[in-house]
Homo-oligomer: 717 residues x 2
């Protein structure tokens, strides 16, 4: 691939990005799309502005970028919670480190690569990309110390930045825990695997156990019921009722006249809807978590929430082994009320370990089955092979534009489309695994998607790209450094185009919200339903975090080998920073808060990227016979491992648990201010198994009342 | 190697074993050796019988075997603690599983191997050993299902036995914890990394912290002092004083006359000794843990023992994260008073992680440097190579007896001698690692020795034995099953001789106590010192557990491939059972108790052995083109992994911690019986940094008063 082909690809992408962003700036001004682009704000203010039509609505404008930029971190923290801030810190970190890397590589590595061999340089646009990679440096060149130095600067800056980010985020986490209003999850423990008894009900068994062993701090408990048929019918009925209400509101406008464009599927007399509505309202009033009617119809299962009088007592009960049989009386700190994954709580505890193994196996199998389309896509980048395979393509492939598009653009798009199937699959696996919270499920899916992406985008492309049709590359760990060292510079072109297509395009698709825009269009203008206020999505950490981390990995590994990737990456991260800020502020509703628990994953992945970069560098220096640079890189590798281990010791426990000191201080404060009684009262109704909708909207309004996320919704700004 | 060579080797070993055992039965009757062979009993009864000389003392007799056999498990538990019982359970388990394996293999696998190929069988003694291995079975033979079935029977029996052993030992552990007298370690927490303050002393900081956050349960604390020069001088002085006293008692017999044979190095007037003695007695009275004179001269370090009022409070404090900085206020449950590794406690906590990494690296390096003698030893088993290397050996190697001795006996002996350097080295590494207890150090050393032994005896012999001088076998994990499958049957001969020499000989050396016998002889008859009653060794778990587990591994892996190893192994385990029972009852003093914490290591290693056996079997079935057997073995592998994971879930937490239920019950019992006050009083003086001797002997006498280990010491039985 030549520079000109790369520029063509970049040109296409920049054009597409500008087009999409302009389109977005127009679409967001349309009142019909307000629930697509301002979902969070809608949920917050429960109102909608009906602007009159002006011509301004059709003119693209970049004001949204300015708006997104204006918010301070504190405002985002108040508006969208700590998780959102932590996510944005990933982007800030990436922008910082890759600015440094780009600076170092532009003035150090790039000239050395370009003038690495005595050759006559062509006009730069028709220069092949390989001239800018380390492949162009002569074997045994004395200039390889520049690469080694650049690696040192990048690694040390990354470690310093990582350390301060970890420190900053752990401080923010602690501040968030201590300063936020009392959280029922801090007082509650989820108890599973309660032993059965013939004489006693589960409720009595739990009360006896906790009164006996935690008598001074035990407050109350709440059984968890297995969602039986009754629950299924109830929730279905509720859904149908809501749909009816929405249809009714749509169909019978203020004037009570049936709308002509209403979908014909649900025809019927207006009175029917009224009838249904009243019945279901009557029913839905009963659907309360304390209603005995429903509970008596449910099967109780061997799990319960136990509430304690203080936070400290709860954490003690959750961390100490309760029974001498570790498979009984298993305790965990409860998730937040909105975060509880109710349908997983009835899973018998003794099933969990086998579910975990099964999902692990399933994920690994999925990871390897996925190889097939990836290998096919890989084939597309080797035009000569494709021509041999399909001789009738030969004519088409002679046109230079086609060659540029096919080799520079198409493979990534196909790969991208395939990748859209991965996150739902991994979410499914993670749900089967049996986590007790939505956030736990998302975190688990995030890790799975991350491993998957790194494996299938980076390793498979690198390994099978160089030794095509030879998938046993994994089985020789000793050769991996040199193999990577040979393959990564060769695949640099693919990674650059991957950043251009997958990276930039995914940001455009993220800001355009293509899926929900289409869905909104269909429901609103074809089915003519009213908006469902409960359908605001929460931020998809499980897809976005792996994406950003993958680009970080590509950036680190390619930095000193093929520095041309860095400007494109920097554009990606900067654009991403603006786009995600906008999305977090306007679109997504944070239904629960993990208080930054995603950061250790980010930290570890970044350290892994650094180590991988160093291993590849070791391979390269080995191939290029530069033993001094090799020795220094091994030193750097050891230093990085030590740094990682230190951070694990210093920060990781903070993200896994709460400290006694903080909890006791918080308990004391609440007791002294007399708030404790009130908290205990609230606790008893905080976890409500049979009205998830209510709880969700409560929390959203909580967050909105906490955070005065300044700025009114105006659908035209 | 032929059967006759094997029988020669077995003959030599049986002869040697009988000789050593007879020698032992004579030596143990000599009053001079009573402190070598009855150390534990001596410590227990503080007296010694002076038998008159009889001829019976010179006649070998097997009565000690009967004696060792007579004790029940409960008696051993009372006499030597749970750790000893757990160790004996390893042998019981091995005897059981290898009896089953031997039965299955003798009637199933062995005939199939022997008649595996259509050939004319020679007279059995001159038959090569290969005829009895799986190498003799034809490729694609239909009889391979016998091997697969045998593997199934062995694996399933092993899993069932393992499960019941784990269950039994965890029950014994729980019973031991709840029923043994109050243990100060249950009430104490070791706090490290106490933050410094300019205004306050460490003592005040600790008191303030624990009164503030654990006020209701905090009892007291005890600072740990860094052993400075004063401590060094004091302990040296004490040692010298003790030596002097012993010399004096030896030199000046009841009559006060100087003995003629007394060593001339420490000549001097009798009065001098008296003088010294009084002075040091005066000094040693001061050496008390509460003496303020000494403490004021020590540097205090940022660690302390904190005592709590209840066991439950202590375990809570040890398990909950104390401070929001995980590198401060680090808490661990304290070890038993005699188990405390005082000289490690002053190590700053922030050093520990780096020490751990360094020792890991050092152990791995040591593991690989050790390859050199092993490879050399391996060369000795290949006579032809040795002849090429040293042509002048050619003449000697023509004599058949020499060949048999060299190929069947010498290699193992050399290897054995080299292996004697490993445990001290690993103990050194484990001490540098910074464990807080002697038992922790021993456990860590045990794991290191175990990995070392398995790697250097099994893998290196197998891999470099087949692909000699080719050490890159590790770097191809995919080929390992087939490589092992090829190599293990070939190396079976070596493993059989290894069991004969290393196994049997190590038991003989264990019962003879060669080192301490020699040491005793030198000190008693040449230096003419009195016995040092404090020098009773504790059981060397870190050498004996890996040894027994290694033989288990050899047994499992060779069982279906080369079943001839099984009878020799069974003899080893049976002899070992008697020998170790005898040693535990008579020789070793259990100074501390880990309450069976070694068992998870044993369990995991055995499961690893099973998995390895299955992997090798998969390789073998692959080579022999028996796809059905291969598929069934993969099923078995999956089943074994699931079994292992289940056991980890079900039992492992019990060995890592205590349960709240048990601790609270124990606390209540003590409170109701009014013992708590007494326990609190004892707590304050339980941990004594500056008189280790006293503490040790106290505990030994504690154990002896607890356990009425029935039977008087008679040096002639």
């Amino acid at each position: 691939m030549e520079i000109s082909a790369l520029l063509t690809s970049a040109g296409i992408n920049i054009g597409l990005c500008l087009l999409f962003l302009s389109l977005y700036s127009v679409l967001r001004k349309q009142p019909g799309n307000v629930n697509v682009y301002f979902g969070r704000r809608l949920a917050q203010e429960h109102s909608r502005l009906q602007d009159p039509f002006t011509l301004e609505r059709l003119v693209p404008s970049p004001t949204w970028i300015v708006k997104a930029w204006q918010f301070t971190e504190d405002e985002i923290l108040q508006a969208a919670g700590l998780d959102a801030v932590v996510f944005l810190r990933i982007l800030v970190f990436s922008i910082r480190i890759f600015s440094i890397a780009a600076f170092v590589c532009a003035f150090g590595v790039l000239p050395v690569n370009y003038f690495g061999q005595e050759m006559r340089h062509k006009h730069i646009p028709s220069e092949p990309l390989d001239v800018f990679t380390i492949a162009n440096v002569k074997d045994g060149s004395r200039w390889l110390w520049v690469h080694c130095l650049a690696l040192y600067i990048i690694t040390c800056s990354a470690c310093i930045l990582l350390y301060y980010e970890y420190k900053r985020i752990s401080r923010m986490r602690l501040a968030h825990i201590t300063k936020s209003p009392p959280n029922p999850s801090h007082f509650s423990v989820l108890v599973r695997a309660i032993p059965k008894s013939k004489n006693e009900q589960f409720g009595d068994i739990i009360r006896n156990f906790f009164v006996n062993y935690h008598g001074s701090s035990y407050l109350s408990h709440q059984m968890i019921y297995r969602s039986g048929k009754v629950q299924l019918i109830m929730s279905n009925a509720e859904k149908v009722y809501k749909k009816f209400v929405r249809l009714k509101l749509t169909a019978f406008d203020q004037n009570g006249k049936p709308s002509i464009y209403r979908c014909g599927l649900c025809g019927g007399k207006p009175n029917n809807f009224h009838l249904y509505r009243n019945e279901f309202e009557f029913d839905s009033k009963k659907t309360d978590c304390t209603s005995s009617d429903i509970i008596s119809e449910q099967k109780d299962c061997s799990a319960a929430f136990v509430f304690f009088k203080t936070r400290y007592a709860a954490i003690v009960a959750s961390q100490v082994l309760q029974s001498s049989n570790p498979m009984l009386w298993v305790t965990n700190l409860a998730p937040e009320p909105n975060d509880v994954y109710w349908s997983n709580l009835w899973i018998p505890y003794r099933q969990l370990w086998i579910r975990r193994i099964l999902t692990l196996v399933a994920s690994v199998v999925f990871m390897f089955v996925f190889l097939i389309p990836v290998t096919f896509v890989q084939g597309l980048t080797h035009l000569d092979q494709l021509q041999q395979l399909f001789p009738f393509f030969k004519g088409i492939f002679k046109k230079p534009l086609v060659i540029k598009v096919v080799s520079g653009y198409l493979p990534s798009v196909i790969l991208l489309l395939f990748f859209y199937t991965v996150p739902p699959m991994m979410m499914l696996f993670s749900a089967v695994e049996g986590p007790i919270s939505h956030s736990g499920r998302k975190k688990s899916a995030c890790c799975k998607v991350l491993y998957f992406t790194i494996w299938n985008v980076f390793f498979v492309n690198v390994l099978s790209g160089s030794v095509i049709n030879q998938l046993n590359a994994i089985s020789r760990p000793k050769d991996i450094p040199s193999q990577l060292a040979e393959a990564v510079p060769k695949q640099a072109t693919f990674f650059i185009t991957y950043v251009l297509t997958s990276g930039w395009a995914s940001l455009c698709s993220e800001i355009m919200q293509v899926f929900s825009l289409t869905y909104n269009f269909v429901t609103k203008y074809i089915l003519r339903c009213k908006d469902d206020p409960d359908s605001i999505p929460s931020f998809p950490y499980h897809t976005e975090v792996p994406k950003v981390l993958l680009f970080g990995l590509l950036g680190f590994t390619c930095s000193i080998l093929a520095p041309l990737i860095l400007p494109f990456l920097l554009i990606y991260f900067c654009l991403g920073y603006v786009v995600y800020r906008n999305q977090i502020l306007n679109v997504y509703c944070s239904k629960y808060e993990t208080v930054g628990r995603i950061w250790p994953i980010v930290h570890n992945t970044t350290v892994f990227s650094l180590l991988l970069t160093q291993i590849i560098a070791i391979g390269v220096f080995g191939i290029k016979h530069s033993s001094v640079a090799l020795a220094f890189t091994i030193l750097l590798l050891i230093f990085t491992i030590l740094f990682s281990e230190y951070c694990r010791q210093r920060f990781y426990p903070i993200f896994r648990s709460f400290s006694a000191q903080d909890l006791i201080d918080m308990d004391r404060e609440d007791e002294q201010s007399g708030k404790m009684e009130e908290i205990h009262q609230q606790l008893l109704t905080a976890y409500c198994q049979f009205s998830p909708m209510k709880a969700t909207s409560n929390f959203c309004s909580d967050i909105s009342t906490n955070g005065e996320a300044s700025g009114e919704i105006t659908s035209k700004d």
